[in-house]
């Protein structure tokens, strides 16, 4: 086992009265490629945002192994949010350089790293193009290059293959696998258990804001006594999943009342004889 890199220590996160994550304990080691698997609204994105230092826990701590709080040490983390977050009036390289500069990385250093990974992703010809006309796959790859330009110790990917074509999804998965082989640490959220199985050496199943299982695929099978990971997942998440997004404060009383005034009620059942 490699040395610990990130420690999630009794972390809970609430938005108003809604508890998005409850009492999470995790230790993430260097070299692990972790699949964060769960349904919509399970709390994957909230956990990734806590790990990225974008959210501050309501209770508990997210810290580096040296004890430093993660939100004060964001330069060791690379993030690819679900919607990539590229500026369409900038070129791919300008998007990458913008983040690299805020990380304090010299342009030539960032450029060398970008060029190295862009060849792997087949993006080297697109670096000087404006991202406005980019396909979903190209946007995802650019966001990956941007997250890697400052050589992060941990890479956080929020559903990186969602909406990608088969080839692009495979390229992204291959890159993640290579990063893992090179000793990099990647945390990878996905709905797809099969994808997590293919790419990750550790799977965390998260459901309704709680960690239901954490281990290698073999350990999950052993824990549940199932023959397939999908059966294991189903047995671990039998209770009804919440589907609402829980990463925002709920509407206030007045906003709710105002909105309900303009929301049509459900149509009454129509009597078939009429």
């Amino acid at each position: 086992m490699h040395e610990p890199l990130l420690v999630v220590d009794g972390v809970s996160k609430s938005f108003g009265d809604i508890v998005a994550l409850h009492d999470i304990d995790l230790t993430i080691h260097q070299g692990e490629v972790i699949g964060l698997v769960g349904s919509n609204g399970a709390g994957k994105t909230t956990l990734l945002r806590l790990l990225a230092g974008v959210y501050v826990p309501t209770n508990g701590r997210v810290r580096l192994a040296n004890g430093e709080e993660v939100h004060t040490a964001r330069n060791v983390i690379g993030v690819v949010p679900e919607n990539t977050g590229l500026y369409s009036r900038l070129t791919a390289w300008e998007n990458i350089r913008y983040h690299a500069r805020i990380h304090g990385i010299e342009d030539d250093v960032a450029w060398k790293r970008t060029l190295y990974f862009s060849k792997f992703l087949g993006m080297d010809d697109a670096l000087q193009r404006h991202t406005k006309g980019f396909s979903r796959g190209m946007r995802q790859k650019t966001a990956l290059l941007r997250a890697l330009a400052h050589a992060p110790r941990v890479l956080l990917l929020d559903e990186p293959t969602a909406g990608l074509d088969v080839t692009s999804a495979r390229t992204v998965r291959d890159l993640v696998s290579q990063l893992g082989q090179e000793g990099g640490t990647v945390i990878y959220s996905t709905h797809q258990l099969s994808e997590a199985h293919r790419v990750c050496n550790r799977i965390i199943i998260i459901h309704n804001g709680e960690v239901r299982a954490d281990g290698t695929p073999e350990e999950l099978l052993e824990l549940t006594g199932a023959e397939h990971l999908e059966d294991a997942y189903v047995s671990l998440t039998m209770d009804v999943a919440r589907e609402d997004e829980v990463n925002e404060k709920p509407l206030g009383r007045w906003s709710k009342a105002w909105r309900s005034m303009f929301t049509p009620s459900t149509p009454k059942e129509v009597n078939e004889d009429e």
Binding site: I77, V79, G85, E94, I102, H103
Partner: protein, 405 residues
């Protein structure tokens, strides 16, 4: 460069690059303010002249109701450019009561009705018209011209018949010499006075309105497009983010305001003599205070707008909040124009927005009143820091990470 400053500069630079790459925004925020006043001041008078020529060419029908009028007046009507129709006056107690004539004025079969009768040595009259009809207003105006011409001749005739000199009787008080020479204010001071009526208003309104679009784009726009989450995961503090965006918005707004003032000065110079807008006489201390007043105002306005835009969940929501908020600046700005600066009480210089506008007016007239300077400086600083604090609070909100995209 310190790493903090470097991050702020990087954020501001990126925002400015994005801004200049959008030609529509450049047109809206930089080109329009440059051209607005020249177009308004040069084309508008041309339009007015063309409208006046059109009115002059109109044929207007006036009915004159009378049982007899002086021969000279009758001659004046007959030689005028009015289409006159005479009718008997009949018995009317009050000449200005329209009675049955109202209908034909309303249906525009006539443009004006002039009623006249002689009462001893005086001619009594009333002119009926419809104020909402341009044709009727023109008829009224031309009829008055004829009446005024006759009245002037009749006055001179009566004074002369009484054995008096008409010129001395009608104009017993006369100016001697040039009016311009009698003003002890220098050209520079006069220029300052004139500019103090325009520049504070333009500066206030345009600072606010030109900051709206970039403020929304850099906050609610980022949030809506989903670019903010990746930005918030970077190793820069929310305050650095706010400051970087503030610098960018302030730069864009500053450029817009400068261009608009340049356009205004050009337009005034085109219409009036160059002496009219000679350079105001401002010493170094006044100039420094002017810059400080503008800076404090810009800090307050831009921070306030960034805060309101960042509170919003979408571009649409931000626009619907910031659009009407222009009135918060417009009303005080218009109100400030009519405040008399002579003997003004110091508390006026503590009212938000009004304080900076009054300060600008005083400074452009090269007046430094220490008491006023202290009050506006302290109050503006408090407001600027208040707005910055409010903006910082909004940028530190955890929910800004949530994207609608």
């Amino acid at each position: 460069m310190s790493s903090r400053r470097m991050r702020i500069t990087t954020i501001a630079k990126k925002e400015l690059i994005e801004f200049v790459r959008d030609w529509r925004t450049i047109v809206a925020i930089l080109v329009i303010p440059l051209l607005m006043f020249p177009v308004l001041f040069i084309l508008f008078p041309l339009l007015l002249a063309s409208e006046a020529a059109e009115l002059q060419a109109m044929e207007v029908d006036v009915v004159v109701q009378t049982d007899g009028m002086p021969d000279e007046l009758s001659l004046a009507f007959n030689t005028s450019d009015l289409n006159i129709t005479y009718e008997p006056l009949g018995t009317i107690a009050n000449l200005s009561t329209p009675g049955s004539d109202a209908e034909r004025l309303r249906n525009t079969s006539v443009d004006a009705v002039l009623r006249m009768r002689t009462n001893g040595t005086v001619v009594e009259y009333a002119l009926l018209y419809m104020s909402t009809s341009e044709q009727s207003l023109e008829a009224r105006s031309r009829t008055f011209d004829v009446l005024a011409g006759w009245e002037e001749n009749e006055t001179v005739r009566r004074i002369t018949d009484a054995g008096l000199d008409a010129d001395e009787t009608l104009d017993p008080l006369r100016w001697n010499g040039s009016i311009a020479d009698s003003d002890v204010a220098t050209k520079g001071e006069q220029a300052g006075m004139v500019l103090s009526l325009f520049i504070p208003l333009v500066l206030a309104v345009w600072t606010f309105s030109s900051a709206i679009q970039p403020s929304i784009d850099m906050t609610a726009g980022e949030r809506e497009r989903g670019t903010l989450e990746a930005l918030l995961a970077l190793p820069c503090t929310r305050m650095e983010l706010l400051m970087g965006k503030w610098v960018a918005v302030a730069t864009i707004t500053g450029a817009g305001v400068l261009l608009q003032i340049a356009g205004l000065l050009f337009a005034i110079g085109y219409l009036a003599s160059t002496e009219f807008i000679s350079v105001p006489e401002l010493d170094i201390a006044t100039l420094a205070l002017l810059c400080l007043a503008v800076l404090l105002f810009a800090i307050m306005v831009v921070a306030f707008e960034l805060a309101l835009a960042m509170r919003s969940h979408s571009v649409k929501e931000a626009g619907s909040i910031l659009g009407p908020a222009v009135l918060l600046i417009l009303f005080p700005a218009l109100f400030t124009q009519v405040i008399n600066l002579d003997g003004i009480e110091a508390y006026w210089f503590a009212i938000p927005v009004v304080n900076v506008l009054l300060a600008l007016r005083e400074l452009l007239m090269n007046r430094i009143v220490l008491g006023h300077v202290v009050v506006w400086l302290v109050s503006s600083t408090i407001y600027a820091f208040g707005a910055a604090w409010y903006a910082a609070r909004q940028f530190k909100r955890e929910d800004i990470v949530t994207s609608l995209s």
